[in-house]
Symmetry: C2
Subunit: 347 residues, 2 copies
């Protein structure tokens, strides 16, 4: 099984470490660094594709600098499907042929059929289709609809956007795996996301049945992340992520992001904006204070700040900023030390 996924992306090594397509934060430098370390890096295109061509060109240039040539561009692109322009996406993908198109949060699952078919058409199947889900029901529906190459199974501990109510990866991954077997889709590779920040979490996900593991919060503390220092410092300083982070709609409301389907919320570090939002309600005064915090730079973040620091419950496992390639290779070797299932010893 693992070999299918690694074979699709021949520069990757087991266990496959994936950097999450964090909107505005995961750009070409992070994606390229992760892929160059034998992982699979993603550019977070999100809901607005206006900068995506530039990012893909930048990625290509970075690979050429390192004398790496490949039929496909060895990074993936993450889309937030309720907002991303379909035709523009196809044009860009056809021109640049990234290794993967990762879909997340369509208005309706049905919409992903058009996306999957379209991307496979314009890239002649060279761009693989990954679909992120957070429930067993969604996994079954999109597997039947789109037959993706990979399901990204996102547990409740994930930072940023995810389902407001959901299970952790500890139950969601094995239940999705069983559901795929039951509907004859056991060939779809499963990748785990949500709460994984180092080798122990990766080893745990391999034991649960994942073929690869996505890390987001860990890469917020990478040198290549496009992130404000105030935000990054908040991640480094915070711990006890079940207490210090929370999933809510408060930050979307403050920022005026209105397009997310109702069942999604964003997990972020608790700050004064969240504390003020009694019952999740955001006032005009809170919006004014948020706008004011935007002018303060790095001071706008932190426990007593007001700016959004999306992060997962893994914040307490992230202690220092490192180059992405070090993160990838360190986590991979920690995981291999912990977890060598019987089947890998036969390889």
């Amino acid at each position: 099984m693992a070999s299918t996924l690694l074979a699709h992306h021949p520069w990757t090594k087991h266990p496959l470490i994936i950097s999450a397509p964090m909107r505005l934060i995961a750009l070409a430098p992070l994606a390229v660094a992760v892929s160059q370390a034998g992982g699979l890096g993603f550019i977070g295109a999100g809901s607005d594709l206006n900068d995506l061509t530039n990012q893909l060109k930048h990625a290509k240039a970075l690979f050429l600098d390192n004398h790496i040539k490949s039929e496909v561009l060895p990074v993936g692109v993450g889309f937030i499907n309720w907002g991303a322009d379909f035709q523009l996406a196809l044009d860009i993908l056809a021109n640049h042929i990234p290794a993967v198109a990762w879909f997340f949060a369509p208005e309706r699952n049905q919409d992903l059929l058009r996306w999957s078919t379209g991307v496979r058409d314009v890239t002649q199947g060279r761009t693989k289709i990954w679909i992120q889900i957070g429930t067993v029901a969604d996994a079954v529906e999109v597997a039947n609809l789109c037959n993706p190459d990979v399901l990204v199974v996102q547990g409740a501990d994930a930072g940023g956007h995810g389902l407001e109510r959901g299970a952790g990866i500890i139950t969601l991954l094995p239940e999705v795996a069983d559901a795929m077997q039951a509907i004859g889709k056991g060939n779809i590779n499963l990748v785990a996301a949500g709460g994984i920040a180092e080798g122990r979490g990766v080893a745990a996900c391999l034991a649960l049945g994942a073929e690869g593991v996505v890390m987001g919060t860990r890469f917020l503390a990478s040198e290549e992340a496009n992130i404000a220092k105030g935000y990054q410092d908040d991640v480094l300083k915070s711990s006890d992520g079940g207490v210090r982070t929370v999933r809510s709609k408060v930050y979307d409301t403050l920022r005026g992001t209105t397009g997310w389907p109702d069942r999604y919320g964003g997990r972020g570090i608790i700050n004064e904006s969240y504390m003020d939002a009694v019952n999740g309600e955001v006032t005009d005064e809170m919006k004014r204070l948020y706008e004011k915090a935007l002018t303060k730079g790095d001071e706008g973040w932190g426990e007593h700040g007001r700016l959004t620091a999306y992060a997962g419950t893994a914040i307490g496992l992230v202690h220092q900023v490192s180059p992405a390639h070090e993160i990838v290779s360190e986590v991979r070797s920690q995981a291999l030390k912990l977890f060598s299932p019987p089947h890998t010893s036969k390889l």
Copy 2:
């Protein structure tokens, strides 16, 4: 490390499978069956100790029937500390010397110092002290206060009572492990709870650093559980536990249980009681309907029922009722197949 825990309880086998002290459900037959299978079974004494002496006598009789003699009674007892009578607990423990006293949900962590000291005194240290926590801060506080033999690290996926807001085991267990190392308490064994129902989850928790694994929801579907058929059927029929279960205070309010400290809620299967409780508010009419459902027997449970079916997000991994000894040995052997870390091969 694992050897410390196994040595304390010499009838147990690696990996240690523990049955949760579920109030009213986990009584002598379940606890004894689990321990007889090489696990560690718990009697859920909860907040009311009036039946505990009977349960311990029953357990002793069951062991004698099987010609098992031991200096300590090879089962544990779980207390809900905000409600349990301290002096009565000491008297009972002194008389029966169970292997473990498991503490959970004191009004204040500070209260557990008296409990730990008292139990160690009256049992001459033969009854080991386990303390359940759901945050890193609580883990550090109780470790420093009580120096427990075991911390039971409960993730957000757990059924029944737990913290209303917390992390899943995927981040909580490793962060607690690191915190214990940092305060010089690395000798405290960590046991994982919350979302584990079969071998993959057990293997994952071993990879995360747990020395043993607690299962609750899985044992709801054991032959020895003291559980209504309607409740058990609901567990068997339900799946997609992140969607079909939710943590709230609704069921405590309906049942008139008022003693839980504010930060706790109970995870249960969603039914009409929960659906009616807009913003968590419970009306007199809802209480009346709940009381009426109590008269309906097994019909009172289920998606369209009103009675409380506490269960974790692992419901979708539980498919049949089995004898507890089969559950223990099956889960143990599944886990061993998946996870054989380097250090066990040296044993």
